[in-house]
Amino acid sequence: MEQNLKKLNISVTLLRILIGWHFLFEGVVKMYNPDWTSFGYLATAQGPFDWFFTFLLGNVNIGLVNTLNIVALMVVGITFTLGIFERLGAIVGIGLLALYFMAHPPFPGLTQMNVEGSYWLVNKNLIELVACLVIYQLPTGRYFGLDYLRKNKLKIQET
């Protein structure tokens, strides 16, 4: 049992770090590129929720949308790679991925733009979203990450 738990912790830690890596890189690339904008992505949104993205474009400053997107990506990236406040990171990640999924859902009849591979109902965004759910349920920062120091500190203080 103890052995299995350890294996699970290592696997989930690995998952957490790779997802963090992915989000962090996306965030940094966008942050350093002043020409990047989410406009095209939002403007081409389709499916049952396209009205929401059209509304966003028409009513919210695109600069604000861009900044929020970068901040959210960085929050997930930093909390996951460093292993601290990862439950917060997981919630932000789930929200962000849900928006990405709804903007371009892999539903039959919709044209899939800029994607490799073939998808039906489920795509990589949805899978990564569920992976964030796992991170939320099984925080591993206390096994590998800044949380380890925080928790240990508490433990030391307790004794």
Partner: protein
């Protein structure tokens, strides 16, 4: 509290990952940006900004419209006047598709200092529609039964001519001779001799003469001119430009109005110099299909592509033209070809060379058109150093064997399949295009241009420029000289197709090289199959 090295390793293990990913992301972006900046610095292309046009001050320009058909209505909208019927159609189209913004664009259009005072249209329904739509209590619009009457009335400062081709020159000349300003649709003339007569009239007149090649206002074309002038493309040896349409509207089979009859249409006046044939609705509404009134692909659509490129390259009249094609896709009684290939030769033309002086010279302009397939073949300008795709968007690719970019290609800073320059003024716009034919014009940059990301009707800009020159003096961007180049080149293409031989231009004498036993104007106006055409209506 004391942490062991093991504690720190477990606690801070994520930090180097974070650092590495951050560094890699930043390096990727700044690296690709700096190599892009290096290329852009070397190319030194300046995206064009809209020209400041002096205001149209003083008393409003009093305008008479001659011809209120499809194009006439569009030109009138460019002047700021839309019929209630059109506005209602656009409102409904917008309800169906929120991206359809024609009405919004129209309402946003700057108001020009003009007053519509007269209409001349041989079809009662159209003339009445004009009056009912635009006449007000303070401004009663007058209907003139002939263009002479309108031009000589003294009540009209300027005329907008949107009639069949065979009326363009006679009306323009009449107006110019009477000091009335002219905006005439393309092609400027219907025959070779008219082209000279009109040039003479324009030279003698004080009135401002403009040809309706509105794409001269398109910003991507002035940017393209900068690209060519800076030697970005090197020596251009070939231009490929095309018409690809596959719908009724694109093949000029326009709707026939239910109220059309010998009672509502002044048929004799419509015919003018054309052969006297009995009343025919098909001819009246679909006149572009016969040489008697129109000029088919060579006059109607080649002229757009020719002038678009003449505006970018300033290559002038070709030294020779050969054309081939036929009536292959719409065998409906028309006698203008629906498939045509036109090769125009410019043996002495040069856009500059990156190689040894004199090694490169000469260019072929190849126009290829069909009304039987709508696949989008873009306009491509092919140079020794680079290739440019020309439309509302511009894209430039380096050529793998370029002399100018050899070093950068060697260093893999450029790659033949990766564009080195892209210009897309509409990148942040989601406007819808309503039909296949409008998509065709929009892709070519013939319908609108983008100023600060906002779409602007280029016809409006073209009209505004003409009106500004009327009030303030200056030069219109498509005047008599540009129109002369366009008309002669188009006539050469038409003649070549009709005669099945090469037509040559003598630049020194500014004359077509005569062909023994051939009267060019007679050939241009000749109507093969004239009596065989069925009465096809609907």
């Amino acid at each position: 509290m004391k942490w062991t090295r093991r504690d720190l390793l477990i606690g801070l293990g994520g930090l180097p990952i974070l650092g590495a990913v951050w560094w890699a992301g930043a390096a990727k972006v700044t690296g690709s940006r700096s190599s892009r900046d290096e290329i852009l610095e070397q190319l030194n292309i300046t995206p064009s900004l809209p020209l400041a046009v002096p205001g149209i001050g003083g008393e409003p320009v009093r305008i008479g419209v001659i011809g209120f058909g499809i194009r006439g209505e569009q030109l009138t909208r460019a002047l700021g006047y839309a019929t209630p019927q059109w506005m209602e159609e656009q409102r409904l189209a917008n309800l169906e598709n929120p991206d359809h913004k024609a009405l919004e664009d129209f309402k946003r259009q700057e108001k020009l200092n003009v007053k519509l005072v007269g209409i001349c249209d041989v079809f009662d329904v159209r003339a009445e529609n004009f009056i009912n739509s635009f006449s007000t209590e303070d401004n009663k619009i007058k209907r003139y039964l002939t263009h002479q009457e309108m031009i000589q009335s003294g009540d009209v400062d300027a005329v907008v001519i949107a009639t069949p081709d065979h009326w363009h020159a006679p009306m323009s000349i009449e107006a110019l001779n009477n000091g009335v300003h002219v905006y005439v649709e393309k092609p400027m003339t219907h025959t070779v001799s008219e082209t000279y007569l009109l040039r003479e009239a324009a030279a003698k007149s004080n009135a401002v003469f403009a040809v309706g090649h509105q794409h001269r206002q398109t910003l991507s074309f002035s940017t393209a001119r900068d690209i060519v002038e800076k030697g970005t493309l090197g020596h251009v040896s070939l231009i490929q430009t095309n018409t690809n349409r596959n719908d009724d509207n694109g093949a000029w089979n326009y709707d026939i109005h239910e109220k059309a009859s010998p009672e509502t249409i002044d048929w004799e006046q419509f015919l003018g110099s054309a052969p006297k044939v009995p009343f025919n609705k098909n001819h009246f509404f679909r006149w572009r299909k016969w040489w008697a009134y129109g000029s088919g692909l060579s006059g109607d659509l080649l002229t757009h592509d020719y002038d678009r490129l003449n505006c970018v390259l300033n290559m002038g009249i070709p030294s020779s033209v050969s054309a081939s094609g036929g009536v292959y896709t719409h065998n409906d009684g028309r006698n203008v070809p629906d498939v045509i290939q036109v090769n125009m030769e410019f043996p002495n033309f040069s856009t500059g060379s990156s190689q040894t002086n004199g090694k490169e010279k000469g260019m072929t302009f190849c126009y290829s058109a069909t009304l039987g397939n709508g696949f989008n073949r873009p306009t491509i300008i092919m140079g020794h150093d680079a290739t440019m795709e020309l439309g509302n968007r511009l894209t430039v690719w380096p050529d793998g064997a370029s002399t100018r970019y050899a070093d950068m290609l060697e260093a893999e800073k450029m790659r033949p399949n990766v564009p080195i320059y892209q210009y897309d003024p509409a990148a942040s716009s989601t406007d819808a295009v309503s039909s296949a034919t409008s998509q065709y014009f929009a892709d070519k940059g013939l319908m609108w241009t983008y100023i600060d990301g906002v779409r602007v009707d280029s016809t409006f800009l073209h009209m505004r420029e003409w009106l500004s020159v009327i009030k303030n003096g200056g030069k219109v961007s498509c005047g008599i000289n540009e129109g002369f180049d366009e008309a002669i080149s188009a006539h050469m293409a038409g003649l070549s197709w009709k005669l099945g031989r090469r037509i040559e231009w003598d630049a020194a004498s500014e004359q077509l090289v005569p062909v023994e036993g051939v009267d060019f104007d007679q050939v241009l106006l000749a109507n093969e199959n004239w009596n065989e055409q069925p009465e096809m209506v609907g």
